[in-house]
């Protein structure tokens, strides 16, 4: 790409043609503050904290939206720039609650960081802000409009990445607000609770519902036997909560940390991910053999399920009836594990650690109680686990390695794949192939379904029968596929959809800073976890084999049907 020569703060530098001043400066190690800018999003240029001086230009220019030009002389560190940035911050802060120590974003708020960097000490808060009602109407997300700085990052992700179209800016000038139409609550609109808006929010205006107190209460209650399950995507992201680089694999430290925090048993959602493959794989084969509804769609992702219930109720029969691995785990913890351990199911408290905000909603769905009790009692996101572990006094990076408890902690590499887009498909193909073809699959890596392309396709030869599959992640891509299915233009047998970009590793409950770069790093880590496992096919999981032998009988059997499968409802 052609380079453009210019000067930044007097130093001769060059940057690729078409770069913005902000991009060029950051590549060169010059920090320019920003709030509405997000590296994965389109330019908005509405917060103005990135202003710089450009020689020959009377006004300060926003660095996020101004492209570099040959011979440009840019100054980022002048009195005029600093004072302007301070004035802009003062204007934003004068209308912002001054309760930083009590805020859930204390420690990772982008606005607070800039206030600290720019030495903001006093604001002329001559406008008494109106206290706007906080939306706590859902089990997953909290929206506090008082803390909203109207940057528009949530609206962008809600409209252009997920195409759920819930949050958008309304009114104008001092009345502007970002909300659902008519100021409705999130529970009153078709929000799928994916939490992608939370990931991009620079402040505490959007965050997960904090369920840490419920988990401490269970741990502190000695009558309760508290078991925890950890989703595949959390082991490749939790280290970021403790300052490590995205893509750090921390499975063994994570297990130790959970034990340190006081959980009685540390189990793995990967165990029920393997189980899901057996149930879902056989469901696919049954549909193929008996002329069932095709394509069959995966059902692990609760945001995706809610999206289907709101927007494509006519296609609900396409969804696999399999519960998600989280819910299969809960149903088994209070039946199979209760039997094995001799602990009464009412004394067992199941906690999930999930990369996901929608999982909180899923765990509370009334039908998720097939054990006779609520199957999963509490769900914490990766971010909440970070906070819980800090409260527990865990020095994460210094922990010795630990191992999951048996049997609900035994898993294969196939299960680890569930965290990445294409992973459920790949895991299913490894098992379905061997079940159908009855010979060993030697090349286990289905690379066509890997990677960040929005929609991926592959065809697998099963004993002369070509089976066409597709994978989508992010709801905008899912919508394209579902429109094709609705129009009868999709000749796939099996389609995997994950609600969030990149799959669960990019889920709305993951650490702040989640973007394309960290998603890619976590995906690479996911494949490394798989490759390092001695067993890489779900049907080889000895604990799952034992489960079928001692308890379930066979895939799609009577007990499976009762405990591991579910139905969906029309929410349109």
């Amino acid at each position: 790409m052609e380079q453009v020569a210019m000067k930044i703060n007097g130093a001769a530098v060059s940057a690729p043609q078409g770069s913005t001043i902000l991009e060029a400066a950051r590549q060169l190690g010059v920090k320019i503050p920003s709030l509405c800018h997000h590296p994965d999003q389109r330019v908005k240029a509405n917060c103005r904290v990135c202003v710089v001086e450009v020689e020959g230009s009377r006004n300060l220019m926003p660095a996020c939206s101004t492209r570099v030009a040959p011979g440009m002389e840019i100054r980022t560190n002048t009195a005029r720039v600093r004072e302007t940035v301070q004035t802009i911050l003062e204007l934003i802060l004068s209308n912002h609650p001054q309760d930083c120590p009590n805020c859930i974003r204390n420690g990772n708020c982008e606005l607070r960081q800039l206030a600290a960097d720019y030495g903001m000490r006093e604001y002329k808060a001559d406008i008494e802000p109106v206290a706007l009602p906080i939306d706590t109407s859902t089990l997953s997300l909290v929206r506090d409009p008082n803390k909203c700085i109207k940057c528009g990052r949530c609206a962008e992700v809600c409209h252009h990445v997920q195409e759920t179209g819930i949050l958008y800016s309304h009114f104008r000038s001092t009345d502007i607000g970002v909300a659902p139409e008519y100021g409705k609550q999130l529970s009153e609109v078709n929000c799928v609770l994916c939490g992608q808006c939370v990931l991009v929010c620079p402040t505490g205006a959007l965050h997960e519902k904090d369920d840490i107190p419920a988990v401490w209460a269970a741990i502190d209650n000695h009558e309760k036997h508290v078991v925890v399950q950890v989703a595949p995507a959390v082991r490749v992201s939790i280290a970021e909560e403790f300052g490590q680089a995205p893509g750090t694999i921390a499975t063994d430290k994570l297990v130790s940390a959970l034990r340190f925090a006081g959980f009685d048993r540390v189990f793995d959602t990967d165990f029920t991910a393997d189980l899901t493959i057996l149930e879902e794989g056989h469901e696919l084969l049954r549909r193929l053999q008996t002329g069932g509804t095709l394509p069959m769609l995966t059902s692990c992702s609760p945001g995706w399920i809610k999206f289907m219930e709101h927007n494509y109720p006519d296609l609900l029969p396409h969804l696999s009836t399999c519960k998600s691995p989280q819910q299969m785990f809960g149903a088994l913890a209070k039946t199979y594990y209760a039997q094995l351990s001799g602990i009464a199911p009412e004394d067992i408290f199941v906690v999930s650690i999930m990369p996901c905000t929608a999982k909180k909603f899923e765990s509370a769905r009334p039908e998720m109680a097939d054990s006779g009790y609520r199957d999963v009692d509490a769900v914490l996101t990766t971010r909440e686990l970070g906070r819980l572990l800090r409260q527990a006094g865990v020095d994460f990076n210094k922990l010795p390695p630990g191992e999951f408890d048996a049997p609900l902690g035994v898993s294969t590499g196939a299960a680890a794949l569930f965290g990445a887009t294409g992973g459920v498909m790949e895991a299913a193909l490894r098992t379905v192939y061997e079940v159908v073809v009855q010979e060993e699959l030697t090349e286990v890596n289905f690379t066509e379904v890997r990677g960040m392309a929005g929609i991926k396709e592959a065809t697998v030869d099963l004993n002369g029968l070509p089976v066409k599959v597709a994978v989508a992640h992010g709801l905008a891509h899912a919508r394209r596929l579902m429109d094709d299915v609705r129009a009868g233009q999709a000749d796939y047998a099996f389609v995997e959809v994950m609600c969030c970009p990149g799959g669960c590793i990019g889920g709305g409950g993951q650490p702040y800073g989640t973007g394309t770069a960290s998603r890619e790093a976590r995906i690479a880590a996911t494949y490394a976890v798989d490759a390092a496992m001695p067993l890489r096919k779900s049907h080889h999981n000895p604990a799952v084999q034992q489960l079928y032998q001692d308890f379930l009988g066979q895939p799609l059997g009577e007990k499976s049907h009762h405990l591991l499968h579910t139905a969906y409802c029309d929410r349109s």
């Binding site: 800016s169 909300a179 659902p180 139409e181 609109v189």
Partner: protein, 159 residues
């Protein structure tokens, strides 16, 4: 259904479903509404037909002061609230209108006869202070003249 005239469906069929059709459609739907506003059902229908989110349609409707989100009276009195009219004595005009109509700026009278609203520039700064009543512009006003306009309006209704 909007009984004053066309249905939302008919309006959209006429104007089209491109993204740029949104504002003309909102204005036409408002014109067809007996209460001079765009209601939620109409907005939802527009969103579905234009394949826009409800939130985006509401964004556009709420952005423009020309579009009302609430039912309005039979007669709409619009007062310019921008600087030139302010300097020319807008405050006294508003006070007089509020007294005459016994409502405050932004309200609709209990009998639904009048809505008094502040709007941005009417494009008639040379006539400031100016108001618009049912789309007709009145300029170089005094408080007494403004009240007269309202009274004439009432008489016109009565006849």
């Amino acid at each position: 259904m909007l009984d004053k005239g066309k249905s939302v469906q008919a309006i959209i069929s006429e104007i089209g479903t491109s993204k740029t059709a949104l504002l003309p459609i909102l204005l036409a739907v408002q014109d067809a509404s007996p209460a001079h506003y765009v209601n939620e059902a109409a907005m939802n229908e527009i969103a579905a037909r234009l394949k826009l989110s409800r939130s985006r349609v509401y964004s556009t409707a709420s952005f423009y002061s020309e579009i009302s989100l609430k039912p309005r009276g039979r007669n709409i009195v619009q007062v310019c609230v921008n600087a030139p009219c302010e300097n020319a004595g807008k405050a006294a005009i508003i006070r007089a209108l509020e007294n005459e109509l016994t409502i405050t700026l932004g309200e609709t009278s209990a009998d639904a006869q009048f809505t008094l609203e502040g709007v941005n520039c009417l494009g008639a700064c040379y006539l400031s202070p100016a108001i618009k009543v049912n789309g007709r512009l009145y300029g170089n006003l005094t408080a007494a003249a403004a009240v007269d306009i309202i009274r004439q309006c009432r008489e016109g209704e009565a006849n």
